[in-house]
């Protein structure tokens, strides 16, 4: 425990010599001292639960619902993973292999129309005290399919599930039939997500309002079998989880988890240094580096499957129509400089569209930083003086670096080869509206695959017909579309790798992207916190944590 935590604020402020403080106008000092004296009362009782309470500070403003079937935001997923169980899950940082969770075992068998997945359930109880049955699993999946939630396309479009695809022959067995167009491995990967979280059907039905499958109630209540249950969500202030006494994943040390909303990174730094929070979610790379030197703090950098990239509009008459201009941009970007200084190493250098860590990734680095070559390519394309609008998001980019700083660096890199990029910061709503309408000239954006499989990037980034990133950048390449489509459903691992090698090489050479880096997610925790782990999907298992 920090010395400052054990003592009252009054004691800690008078114990230190005044002279060592930063210089302040003495009048202000005296006034503040008087105020502090007036209101500095011991808060001993309030601190009694410190060792069993974990406090996280972060920008959790993306949280709009705790319903596992509806939530498709980072914070919602983080919480749903601790409130609910899925059939299968990833353990630790290994996202290549799904492991048992509610299902103790499963089999995949080919059928005439596709494949059949059969799951055997373990004995588990919901926080309501009811046992978890196969009927609850069927209900939970069907409700997502029928609700058409922001994440339901994962079940309907990717896994090709319909109402009736999932059945419960007995209380402990779940059977799932998928057609040939769905890859069973991708389906298993999808089932690790909160969209497939299992809710207590009886509880949800009891709170159903006008056919909403209990979504209004589950927005700020929980009815799952995870290690925690929702105590209370004070919106824009904090979320409080309490330990679920009937859970099979026991939390021996942490009895309460509090997520405190703190939008500003600088504020999180203050709160972590003062001991007010145990974990800070949004550190800038430079603050992360400073934290690593502080013996009271620990820095964790976890890999992600995100890519931070530049998208270049390649449509007819657009600035980047000529592939040589796109290549020039890739030669002009000082990737090493970005990663080494702006990101302080919180990113990996990569130049192809499948993230490192997924089967199918291509770690080749065909582009060196070469402004002269970029200039030559631009001259050959007749675009020696190019001026483009450079649209960027507000706030932080992947890896925690403020987007405006990253953009200013890229702007100066591009200026060196004769491309004038006029930065336009936009809130993400504005930015993506424009991007979706194919109206972005040059855009900087992050991309996260919807599921941990090469196809999570392959189809959206390479297949124009998928109406995703390739489409938004107006890059239509039939060979790439074909490769992406056949790789997605290829069941032979070796053949699949071969297809992805061809695809990544093609897109790296001709595509509309300049990949900037694959980020690490920095998390800074107090040295007193033990057992904290965060995987590439952003999952944290609170029940494994303890505080000294």
């Amino acid at each position: 425990m920090h010395p400052a935590e054990a003592s009252t604020p009054l004691a800690s402020s008078t114990a230190r010599p005044l002279l060592s403080k930063p210089p302040l106008p003495s009048r202000l000092l005296r006034r503040s001292l008087a105020l502090a004296l007036a209101l500095s009362l011991p808060l001993a009782a309030a601190q009694s639960g410190r060792e069993s309470t974990l406090v996280l500070g972060g920008d959790f403003s993306d949280l709009i619902t705790l319903d596992p079937g509806v939530s498709y935001e980072f914070t919602g997923s983080l919480l749903a993973g601790n409130l609910y169980d899925t059939l299968v899950a990833y353990e630790g940082n290994d996202l290549t292999k799904v492991r048992p969770r509610l299902a103790t075992s499963w089999t995949v068998t080919p059928t005439a129309s596709g494949s059949r997945l059969t799951f055997k359930l373990r004995a588990a109880k919901f926080s309501t005290g009811r046992p978890v049955t196969a009927a609850d699993v069927v209900y939970s999946l069907n409700r997502v399919i029928q609700l058409k939630t922001p994440s339901s396309f994962l079940l309907t479009d990717v896994a090709n599930l319909k109402v009736g695809s999932v059945t419960a022959p007995d209380a402990k067995t779940v059977v799932m039939d998928i057609p040939k167009t769905a890859n069973p491995n991708i389906v298993l990967a999808l089932l690790t997500f909160n969209v497939a979280g299992v809710v207590d059907a009886a509880e949800a039905k009891a709170h159903e309002q006008s056919g909403d499958y209990g979504t209004a109630w589950l927005k700020d209540h929980s009815a799952g079998s995870g290690p925690f249950l929702l105590n209370r969500w004070d919106r824009s202030a904090q979320v409080a989880l309490d330990v679920n006494p009937s859970a099979w994943r026991k939390s021996p040390n942490i009895k309460r988890v509090i997520l405190r909303y703190m939008l500003e990174s600088a504020v999180q730094q203050s709160a972590l240094n003062s001991g007010e929070i145990d974990v800070a979610w949004d550190y800038t790379p430079d603050a992360f580096k400073t934290a690593l030197k502080n013996p009271k703090l620990k820095g964790l950098k976890t890999g992600t499957f995100q890519l931070q990239y530049l998208g270049m509009n390649s449509g007819k008459g657009a600035a980047f129509e000529d592939p040589r201009v796109r290549e020039a941009v890739r030669y002009a970007i000082d990737q090493d400089g970005i990663i080494k200084s702006l990101l302080q190493g919180l990113g990996r250098k990569t130049q192809t569209i499948i993230p490192i860590g997924l089967a199918g990734a291509n770690t080749a680095l065909p582009y060196s930083y070469d402004p002269a070559k970029a200039k030559a390519l631009l001259a050959a394309a007749g675009k020696s003086n190019l001026s483009v609008d450079f649209s960027i998001p507000t706030g932080s980019c992947a890896g925690g670096v403020p987007c405006q700083d990253l953009a200013a660096k890229i702007q100066s890199d591009l200026a060196k080869v004769g491309i004038k990029a006029n930065i336009k910061q936009m809130v993400s709503a504005d930015l993506y509206t424009m991007y979706r309408a194919q109206k972005a000239e040059l855009i900087m954006a992050p991309w996260s695959p919807d599921y941990a499989d090469a196809d999570g990037n392959g189809t959206p980034l390479a297949d124009f017909n998928a109406k995703s990133l390739a489409w938004r950048n107006v890059w239509q390449n039939d060979a790439a579309s074909k490769l992406a489509q056949s790789a997605a459903i290829e069941n032979d691992p070796a053949k699949r790798l071969g297809l992805y090698k061809q695809l990544t090489e093609l897109v790296a050479k001709d595509g509309p992207f300049a990949i900037l880096y694959q980020p690490y997610k920095p998390v800074v925790i107090s040295a007193s916190v033990v057992g904290f782990g965060r995987n590439a999907n952003g999952d944290v298992r609170f029940e494994k944590i303890s505080k000294k």
Binding site: E264, S265, A266, Q269, S270, T284, D286, A287, T290, G337, K340, S341, L342, T394, G395, P402, Q404, D405, A407, A408, K409, Q411, S412, N422, I423, K424, Q425, M426, V427, D430
Partner: protein
């Protein structure tokens, strides 16, 4: 604030003499003069405010970088000095734009009276009741973020003060003898307005205007915080504070320098405004 000021009818010389004796105003003018000199001549001695040097990023003040460098290794002093033109220009142009717009609307309302007055003043009320930062945010978002649009957005939220002020002046002056006399002598409404009302309203406008230069810079800084401000790499002070706030623990100099520049500017204009008010208000002595 729409306090109506009594109008000075003393000669300009007397007012100037009083102003010169006002220590606050003089301090304000000296500060402003220094800022203007920095804005005019500073950039002549310094390099490119956008020049990056990632190897020297976030370095503390030194002989090479008197005020240190920022997160992209840009020289903070160079940026603050080149930002002086932009930020002072922003403050003054926003003030002038809202002063002119507001005055015209207030003048029209006061002179035309009746339904016109009612309509224009209700429009003013609507703008006053609208949360200003949200309005500025929306305007800036609709127009697209850049320095010019920031100025338009801030001007659009600050004109109503002037409209109220001028209308109150017009109503007060309409009743005064010398205007009555001018009208009796056959001057038309418009000429009465121009010849008598505007010059007589100049003092309160000057006072309000000098306060508003500072608040325009602060509002622009607020817009920058949400991402609707001047765009990188423009060294506008508000944008600089907002961009460097993420590094406040690692490089306090980078955000303090533009913040102090803003503080000095706001201080200068407020002291001048206070001084003008002291001088032009015949009762306040």
């Amino acid at each position: 604030m729409t306090t109506t000021l009594p109008v000075s009818r003393r000669s300009d010389n007397a007012a100037l003499r009083k102003l010169r004796r006002n220590s606050g105003a003089m301090l304000g003018f000296v500060l402003l003069l220094l800022l203007l000199l920095a804005a005019l001549f500073g950039p002549l001695f310094l390099g490119n405010p956008g020049a990056q040097d990632l190897a020297a990023r976030l370095s503390p003040p030194s002989a090479a970088h008197w005020l240190g460098t920022d997160q992209l290794g840009r020289d903070v002093l160079t940026r603050v000095l080149s930002g002086a033109r932009i930020s002072l220009g922003l403050g003054v142009s926003v003030m002038l734009a809202s002063l002119i717009t507001g005055s015209l609307i207030g003048l029209l309302a006061g002179l035309l009276s009746g339904w016109w007055d009612e309509g224009l003043m209700r429009l003013t009320d609507i703008f006053l009741a609208f949360p200003s930062l949200i309005l500025a945010m929306a305007i800036s978002a609709a127009l697209g973020p850049n320095l010019t649009n920031v100025m338009i957005a801030v001007a659009l939220v600050s004109w109503p003060t002037y409209a109220r002020l001028i209308r109150a002046q017009v109503l007060a002056l309409r009743e005064r003898e010398f205007v009555e006399a001018a009208r009796a002598l056959g001057s038309s409404q418009g000429r009465v307005a121009l010849r008598h009302l505007l010059p007589n309203s100049l003092a309160p406008l000057l006072v309000q205007g000098s306060f508003d230069v500072g608040s325009a810079i602060l509002t622009a800084a607020g817009l920058g915080f949400i991402g609707f401000g001047a765009q990188p790499p423009t060294p506008e002070w508000g944008a600089m504070v907002s961009e460097t706030r993420n590094y406040i623990a690692q490089a306090p100099w980078a955000s303090s320098a533009p913040a102090v520049a803003i503080l000095l500017t706001v201080l200068a204009f407020n002291l001048i405004g206070d001084g003008l008010r002291d001088v032009f208000d015949p009762r306040g002595r």
